[in-house]
Structures are given as C-alpha cells and as structure tokens.
Amino acid sequence: MFKKVLIANRGEIAVRVIRACHELGITAVAVYSDVDRASLHVLKADEAHRIGAAAASESYLNIEKIVDVAERSGADAIHPGYGFRSENAKFARACSEAGVKFIGPTAAAMELMGSKTRARQQMEKAGIPFVPGTSRGLESFEQAEQVAKEIDYPIMLKAAAGGGGKGMRLVRSRDELRTALESAKSEAQRSFGDSEVYIEKAIVSPRHIEMQVLADEHGNTVYLGERECSIQRRHQKVMEEAPSPIVDAAMRRRMGEVAIRVAKAAGYTNAGTVEFLVDRDRNFYFLEMNTRLQVEHPVTELVTGLDLVHLQIRIAAGDRLRFAQEEVNIRGHAIECRIYAEDPDNNYFPSPGKITLLLTPDGPGIRCDSGIYEGWTVPIDYDPLLAKLIGYGTDRDQAISRLVRGLDEYLVGGIKTNIPLFRRILSDQDFQAANLDTGYLDRLLRTNRVSRGDQAADVAAIAAGIFAALDSAQPMRNGIAHESPAAGPRAASTWKRASRIEALRQ
C-alpha cells in the first residue's frame, strides 16, 4: 500500500480523497493555489504545498508543478480527482516518468477514450452498440450534409475532444446545419484546442444512463450498477440517482456486460464510467467512457456499500479485487444533488462570495460531501460546485423524502445556491414518477414556478422585529424572549454576542 498520496485537486473531491487516505492510513498531501490557502482541503490534509496563482493554468492544471511537489514530498502516488487534469494522458505519463503512480487508468487507455472518434472506431470493432453516425471527424460541410441526409434528421454535432456539452449542437433540419457546424467547431476549438466535430443521430427524449466499472491490474473487471443522469441543464448533470428507475436486473446485466467489454477493449484499469444513451424502447447506445472517478460516484457507493476511492487506491497499489461480480449487492436507492454556487432566480449565474451562515443537514440517510465552511469565501476562479448532498433510502420514495428533509435543513447564507431548484424537482410529479429524459429539466424550468404560499410572511415580519429589538437590547436585560428564567439572561447575552458578530461582519 502507498505511504503518501498527493491529491491534485481542490474542493469537495480533494476532501473526500483525503478522508479515504486517512482511512487507509496513508499520508495525504494537498496542493493549493493562492486563493485556496484557507480552503478545507488544505486544513484536512497532512501536508500542503502552494503551487501558484489562482488561475488554474498556474496551479491545478500545471502538470510540472504538481509532479514536482509529488517528488519533493516523496509521494508514492497521485490521485487526480475529477476535472482539471484527471483525464489528461500527458499527466498520467508525467507521473509514471517521475516514478509516481497515477491513480487511474493507463495513459494509453485515457488517450484512446479521450478521442471520441478513435474510441468509436475501437469500440465498433469490439461490437459495442452505437448511435448511428460518423465515427470520424467531418472533413467538410458537404460531407456533413451527406451524412446527415443518410441517417436522417434530427442529428447531433459533437466535438471529438469534447465533454460537458461544449461543442455540441442539435440540428433539426438541413437549414440549421451550416450555422450549427460552424459554431460547434469554433466552440470546440475554443474549449479544447481542437475543432474536430462529428455527427450522430439525435435520439428523441433520450435518457443518459451510465455504468460504473472497476478493473484491477490483474485482468478482473466488474460493473457496479448504473446511474441515471438524465437531469441536466445546459448538458451538465445536476442530479443523479442509482439505480435507474427504468433499469431492471436483466437490463443491468446486459448493460454491465457491454460496459465490461468496453473496458476490456480499451485495456482499462481502475475506476471508470461507460456512458450510454437510452431511447424510449430501452435500447442503449455507447456514448463515451469517462476515465476517472465521477462527481456522482457516491450514489453507487450508497447502493453497493463499497468505497470507490478506497478501491481506486487499492487497485493502483496492485491489489486484486476482493469480490466477484455476483457478490456485488445493489440495495436501496440513492439520489445526489450537486449544490452549486449559482442563482436560480437570475438565470443560474455563478454566485461566488463569502458564506456568512452555514447550516448543514445530517442524520439518517443523508450524506454530505462538502468542500466549504462558514466564513469561507467561494473564489471566482473555479467550478461552482460547493458540495454534494446525497439521500439514501430503502426505496426511491424514501430517498426523495430524505433529500427533501435534508434540503430543508441546509442553508448556505451569503451567496446564492441552486438548493431551491432541487426542492422544485423533488416535488415535481414527473420526477416522482421517474418520467425523465435529458430534456426534462429544461422543460421544467420553462414552466411557471408554483407561487409559494406566503403564510410565513407574518412570521418573517415578527422575526424581523424581534431580531431588531434584540439588536438594540441591553445585555442581561430582563424578560427577553424566555419562559425559562434560567435561559433568559443566557439568551440575551447570546443574542448580544450575535448582534455584535453580525455588526462586525457587515
């Protein structure tokens, strides 16, 4: 087993990996940019090294600096988390050249899967089902026109080097093709430095379902069940669940076996995710493979009882998988909410800033993987993901009801978050009936919000007055707010402190 692991990331995922290291008796080494000195991952790690300025290119994306810290600190291995350089083959290669184990697949497997077109060619050879389309980049508008005609509209344009919805365009008819192709190419160029774009048949109302796989370095590969990731906004996942409401045991086995074939065809090791598009008849088509730990891995952990980060580390250390496919036991239901610093009332614009009040949920069936704390300032420089709230239940209804309860307990004050969005989704009939597809959330957001009852406006008015009255109260003033004589003076002085603190905060 490794003695020391460097975590080449920040935020909730860095904290989550640091915790796994501690649980395995491994020294955890954090890296941080200037704006992250006071971040949670620095506090929780055993060692922390400054790697540069706030801009990710100067710090978390800078392979040389990270590998240099690994060498200087004597780390055996590097965990890349997700995002940043987690799917970058050059990073994996730089690690192995420095004699530091990269906790993930080989550089070769990452390169193969990193190119959508090469991956497609390879996977077609292995007999993996695909959405009809080109497996190569388009060479010209004329070729695009020709292919689109063959497979019939609607079609989808996608960036070969892409991911996360960047460089993607839906084209409903020939009229839209030229503009869409140009903008997809320029977005691909801007986002990935590579303008290659290919065509696929657009599946109407598809679901996005992915299969978690795990492969050790001794040829054993298992699948750990699927995740339903159809709830997306701007092609970004917002909420994920396991199992998928439409996948039964037989379909799970079929998808799982295809996923294992994908992994084997790529020479894949460590944790990975095979993404599928699923049509209304529950046919599934290979989309791509994510060669890293996913943001949404906790839902799989909760329904399987496994710890994917522990397993990633053990596999990278050369351990064999200790369980066989038939021992994977999927039980219950888990749903994840990605808590973002963004403003649901203002077109989901990012909302960085200082967290002035933080109340976090806990108790049965609630897991919170968080990278924030009260008093911390969310920097403007990185992804707005603050934390993940995951609800587990005996069944889907219970998982939903626990998430609703958990969200009610959750308050992130001082900045805006998308917590209200999750309340809306969880109370939506279509969501509750699991009538989901990748267009679900956009449709929901186009409907008018149910106006809330203002029953509590009276309460707010009274509270505003009492807060103000206590603001101006003398310490130890009698008769404030309490039936209990014992609690009275305490409450008053507590309040006094509170008001001073808030005054200082302003």
């Binding site: 800033g353 420089d381 707005p384 009274i462 505003a464 007055g465 409450a491």
Partner: protein, 165 residues
C-alpha cells in the same frame, strides 16, 4: 417598540413589548403571543401559538433576507421614530436600459456593436465566472447606445456592461 416591516413588498406595522414569558406582539393590530430564543448568531427559534419556526437571518451587503423554514423573504425594517429613511419596497419598475454584471467575472465576448439594434432577450455580452460563460441579455428591444466593457476586462458585480435605449 414599533416597527414598520416590509416583507416581499408588503408592509406590516409591528408593535413589540417584552414580557416575562416572551413578547406581546401586535401585528397590524392583531395580538399574537410570541416566544423567541436565539440558537446561534442569525438563527432564531420562534414559537407562535405553539407553532415552531426556525428563522434564519441573511445579510448580504445592503440586502436583508429572512428564511422561515425553507422559504426566503426579502425584508426591510424601519423604526418609525428614527429619521433614517426606508428604501423603496420593491425595486422600482424601472424601464432601465443598463445591463449590469450579475457577478464578478471577466468579459470574454461582445456579441453586438455599439449602435446595433437588439431584441428583448438577445445576448449582448458574455461574462465568464467559475468556468461558466454567461450571456447577459438585453431586457428590451432597442439600440445599443454604449458598450462599457471591453473584451478581457474584469468586472465586479453591478458594473455597467452596456446601455440599451
């Protein structure tokens, strides 16, 4: 104590008197028994006729919100005897033509030129923050009188990006 309170733009007259067991409270003339305990700074437990409410106070810059359970209410408060003026209840229904940055970030693209005609909802400027590109849209149909921000410029929340008339 007497306060004029505005909750989401609705005005209330609140009279409060501390008692030995809580507060005598008159809200728009209606008498209500209230018992309050501060749980921690900014968090209050209110018992109103045995109903329990967790009320959180959120103060951001000049804004003041109260969360009652999971519902957020914008609040304003004035002691009628004080000389301090209350701000307007809800934002003036301005036919404003200023486009402002909703968050700190960087201007990555201008989508129109000065003197261009724009439709309501048309994108004018793209601001990047937290790895997201956000299109700032024109609130109305009109002519772009001024583009106040250049590509590459850093902007703060509230900075004027463009003026549409």
């Amino acid at each position: 104590m007497i306060y004029d309170v505005s909750i989401e733009g609705t005005n209330y007259r609140l009279e409060l008197e501390p008692t030995t067991t809580g507060w005598d409270c008159r809200l728009n003339g209606r008498t209500i028994q209230v018992n309050a305990a501060i749980i921690r700074p900014g968090v209050m437990s209110l018992l109103i006729e045995n109903k329990s409410h967790e009320v959180k106070r959120e103060i951001v810059a000049a804004e003041f919100h109260l969360w009652v359970g999971n519902q957020r209410y914008s609040a304003e408060l004035r002691d009628p005897r004080s000389l301090r003026n209350r701000r307007d209840g809800t934002g003036t229904a301005e036919g404003s033509s200023k486009l402002t940055a909703p968050m700190p970030g960087k201007v990555v693209r201008l989508l129109v030129n000065e003197k261009d005609q724009v439709e309501a909802g048309q994108g004018v400027v793209v601001v990047e923050a937290m790895k997201m590109q956000n299109e700032i849209k024109s609130p109305k149909k009109g002519i772009v009188q001024k583009l106040a921000a250049a590509e590459g410029a850093s902007v703060n929340a509230g900075d004027v990006l463009a003026i549409v008339e």
